[in-house]
């Protein structure tokens, strides 16, 4: 985090710097308004600490200027004790908060922390709902800028609502989701916690009905009012349509129950068919081959007792079908089953008329059920495809069409909009999964940026990737501030654009692979229908014997196991998986009809993460899976990120670089690979201590991240060594960017003590793919050797490895 202190009084500035450095913030000082303005224009600050009374451009005017130019970083004012007027002016001018001088360091730090929490550069894992923000990685809830102090259960409740912000939760469901199996209290507990939560929300200024009671159903988040998207630029507010468990939703759930049980229904009909097949064609004729439409089971093959049993079972099934098919929406099926039921209740033997009618009814019933099942299957998958639309907002028809074609091969349906108004109406019609926005689409750049801002403020936000012909640092910064996700410089290969789109789309739950092992095919089919619309890729396996092979082939993100299966139990499989180091992290969920303490204990004892009781209820299972995947991703982020600098770790970047090299190879592209190190870092480290060393590393990490975004690989590989991978970048271009970077590093002022600044320089070794090497290892060796020469010859320079 980087803070700009604008203070003309040297003593106060020093005091502020000392306090902030202690908190591990990077600090820059400006002694007047103009210098502050210049600094803000050239660097990214996470927060500005602004004295009101400063020379040249006063604090209020600076504040106004910053806000009018779209800078959104938090501004904290420093004011004199009795200057209520200044405070009001400052807050009006766009400041976020103020601290009265002489300041209390603790209060100052607390306010800074609070402001930084709601800064615009939030990672996407933060959950937001209006002014309410939840950071699952820190287990923090903030309303406006006030921290809510929540109990773990209250926090879990809040997270449940925010993760499922359109869903209504009944008390029972909340209990199941939040309380563990052995502490399951009554539903009053939920009510009590909701009440407590509402009070806490109210105390920080949130509306009392933020968590709304839905009469007769449960609780949900109150829908947000959001501005409508309109082509005319009107701003009539419109409430987003939220799904209640409407009739339609209930019917959808019921349709899934049908999917789940249609095999069973089919079996029930089959029992009736088998019983009727034992009937002779007419009373006079002996038992023999029957109507070919029915399975022929000659009477003779059954012992009298078995025959009696079969008939009794048939009566039972016919009765059940009569009483249940109508509930699924098969009214005609119910009527047919009722007629069959009536006929079967009559005593044997049947006359030929009865037999014929029975046969007709059973055939009709079978047809009715099959017809119904086929109908069900027709309309589920299509919606999914339509929803994966990529909106390409670009005037350049040719380029747009190339992108469209490329998008198709990535499974995205491209839509071209050659004007902003078309883009807006397309978004209104059906929100795309992502937008590619060429900033030059509108004659006024502000209009393009306005669209970007609108899209990132939508609920849920639509990711926007920026295409531009110009590469100004300021553009990058501005678009990033407005929520732009990736900055792509034209001309650029369509495959590269789509790679970036893919990266942006990946972090959601979509694309996760799930392996389900259950010996019941009906259950597998039901799970597939249930999970696939959520973008979860389901591989179903009914034979546990093939398990290991399938695990290797599919390499799933999550595993669902049935407990009871022939040959191998789910417990056995789970243990086998856990014993293999490669799969020890794989989330495992059990499906079980038994939720007695012993089974549950065993589920966790063999290393599973969760269990879902049968019969499964769709939304519960989906929520559990999505939560589990989210948590796994959070864990993965830890290994993917270098904790000190926040940029990619060696582990992660190696994978990314390998992928880019494969891509470069396939599409005959070049790649610049660079290794950067801070000159004489070991000496600085030894002399100034580890804390200053960390400040330097963090600062350089930040500079790298700010100047190379999205498509570039930026990583720290340990010590003071940073690695860059610039795809599709010719050597001369990468050299000019690296030169700029070294200049920026040279401008950094690091405070070793309040009164002592350090200057740093860095050196770079560059190796170009494919000239120098084809794989990461040889590129690294060459670049590292060049870096060594650069540092040995005095540092602060770039050396390119020669072939």
């Amino acid at each position: 985090m980087r803070i700009l202190v604008v203070e003309d009084d040297e003593l106060t500035a020093k005091a502020l710097t000392t306090v902030l450095l202690q908190q591990n913030y990077a600090v820059d000082v400006a002694v007047d308004g103009w210098i502050a303005w210049e600094l803000v224009e050239s660097f990214v600050f996470d927060l500005i600490l602004l004295d009101v009374m400063i020379p040249k451009l006063d604090g209020i005017a600076l504040c106004r200027k910053l806000r009018s130019r779209g800078y959104q970083m938090p501004i904290l004012l420093l004011t004199g004790r009795d200057s209520g007027h200044d405070k009001a002016l400052g807050l009006d001018a766009g400041a976020d908060d103020y601290v009265v001088k002489p300041f209390d360091p603790e209060e100052l730090v607390a306010r800074i922390r609070a402001l930084l929490r709601r800064g615009p550069a939030v990672s996407q894992v933060v959950l937001e709902w209006g002014n309410l923000r939840l950071d699952p990685s820190a287990c923090e809830a903030i309303y406006g800028e006030k921290l809510l102090s929540l109990t773990p259960k209250e926090y879990a409740l809040m997270e449940l609502f925010l993760r499922n912000n359109r869903r209504v939760f009944s008390c029972g469901v909340i209990l199941e989701q939040i309380w563990s199996f052995d502490e399951m209290p009554g539903e009053e507990a939920v009510r009590t916690h909701i009440k407590g939560l509402r009070q806490k929300l109210k105390a920080v200024g949130a509306p009392a009905d933020l968590i709304e009671t839905v009469y007769g159903i449960g609780y949900r988040l109150k829908p947000l009012e959001v501005p409508n998207f309109s082509t005319e630029g009107e701003t009539s507010p419109k409430t987003i349509e939220f799904q209640k468990p409407s009739k339609q939703q209930t019917l959808n759930i019921l349709a899934k129950v049908w999917d789940k049980y249609q095999a069973r229904v089919s079996q029930q009909v089959e029992v009736v068919e088998r019983a009727i097949a034992t009937l002779p064609h007419a009373i006079e004729t002996p038992p023999g081959p029957t109507n070919p439409a029915l399975p022929a089971i000659p009477t003779s093959s059954l012992a009298p007792a078995e025959l009696t049993q079969l008939w009794q079972q048939a009566r039972q099934e016919a009765h059940t079908l009569a009483g249940s098919l109508g509930t699924f929406g098969l009214a005609k099926g119910s009527k047919l089953a009722r007629k069959i039921d009536h006929l079967l209740q009559q005593s044997l033997p049947f006359d030929s008329h009865q037999t014929t009618r029975l046969r007709e009814f059973v055939i009709a019933l079978r047809q009715e059920i099959e017809h119904f099942s086929n109908q069900e299957n027709v309309d589920t998958p299509t919606r999914d495809e339509e929803s994966r639309r990529l909106l390409i907002v670009d005037r350049d028809r040719l380029a747009a069409e190339q992108l469209l074609k490329e998008a198709e091969t990535w499974g995205l349906q491209g839509i071209i909009a050659s004007e902003l108004t078309i883009a807006k109406s397309q978004i209104e019609q059906q929100p795309p999964v992502a937008v590619l926005l060429d900033l030059s689409i509108a004659s006024n750049r502000q209009d393009s940026l306005a669209l970007l801002e609108e899209l990132s403020h939508r609920v849920p936000p639509i990711p926007v990737l920026i295409l531009t012909t110009q590469d100004h640092l300021n553009d990058r910064l501005e678009t990033a501030r407005l929520g732009g996700r990736t900055f792509l410089q034209k001309p650029i290969a369509p495959v590269q654009v789509l790679t970036a789109v893919r990266q942006v789309l990946q972090p959601t739950a979509a694309e996760a692979k799930i392996l389900v092992v259950d010996d019941d095919p009906a259950m597998l089919a039901a799970l597939r229908t249930l999970l696939e619309p959520w973008g979860l890729q389901v591989t179903a396996l009914s034979d546990p014997q093939q398990f290991w092979q399938m695990l290797e082939v599919t390499s799933p993100d999550l595993l669902i196991l049935d407990i009871r299966m022939p040959h191998l139990s789910g417990f056995d499989l789970c243990q086998v998986v856990r014993n293999d180091a490669r799969w020890s992290e794989l989330p495992i969920i059990f499906l079980t009809a038994h939720t007695d303490a012993e089974t549950v204990n065993q589920v966790f004892a063999v290393g599973a993460d969760d269990f879902v009781s049968k019969p499964i209820v769709g939304p519960e299972l989906v929520t559990r899976i999505v939560n589990r995947l989210d948590r796994m991703r959070a864990l993965r982020r830890l290994t993917d990120t270098d904790l000190l600098t926040g940029i990619a770790s060696r582990y992660r970047s190696t994978q990314d670089l390998d992928r880019l090299l494969r891509l470069a190879n396939r599409h005959h592209q070049v790649l610049s690979f660079a290794v950067l190190a801070i000159d004489r870092f070991q000496q600085i480290h030894d002399r100034e201590g580890i804390a200053i060393g960390d400040v330097i590393l963090r600062r350089v990490g930040q500079l790298l991240q700010q100047n190379f975004r999205g498509e570039d690989v930026v990583a720290r590989w340990g010590g003071s060594e940073f690695v860059l991978g610039l795809y599709n970048m010719r050597q001369e271009n990468s050299l000019s960017r690296l030169t700029q970077l070294l200049a920026l590093i040279g401008q950094q002022e690091i405070f070793a003590a309040p009164d002592r600044k350090l200057a740093i320089t860095a050196s770079v070794g560059v190796a170009q793919y494919p000239n120098i090497g084809k794989d990461l290892q040889s590129l690294y060796r060459a670049a590292d050797e060049a870096l060594y020469r650069a540092q040995a010859s005095g540092g602060n320079r770039i050396i390119v490895a020669n072939a």
């Binding site: 009944s170 009053e188 009671t213 019921l254 129950v257 509930t327």
Partner: protein, 131 residues
Amino acid sequence: MPKRILVIDNEPYIQEIAQICLETVAGWQVMTAGSGQEGLIRAETSSPDAILLDVMMPDMDGLSTFRALQANPNTSTIPVILLTAKVQATDLSRYAELGLQAAIAKPFSPLELAEQVANALGWNLSDEVED
């Protein structure tokens, strides 16, 4: 406190449909039992506010189950609604004589089930979750 309902039906999909409909439409808490015997145990241990009982079940049918519920002082006061194909006037008066609260015709319409149950018991569907 939402109402708690016990559904006794040997057919798993009827259990599940009833559960989904009563939970999503009415917000009631639904427990299920797959046989008359299991229903007796669950009724006694969890004291539901009402029981939906299927007539035709193997082993122990609905009416025997109902008699057993009536015989047990711990469950005799729980209102029982019969799920049955037979809802002629004569059937209904017989059910009333036996002490059944009401009967709902099978197949029931999933979206109307909650309302039928509420009407039979004199409950108001809209005031369940208010605190």
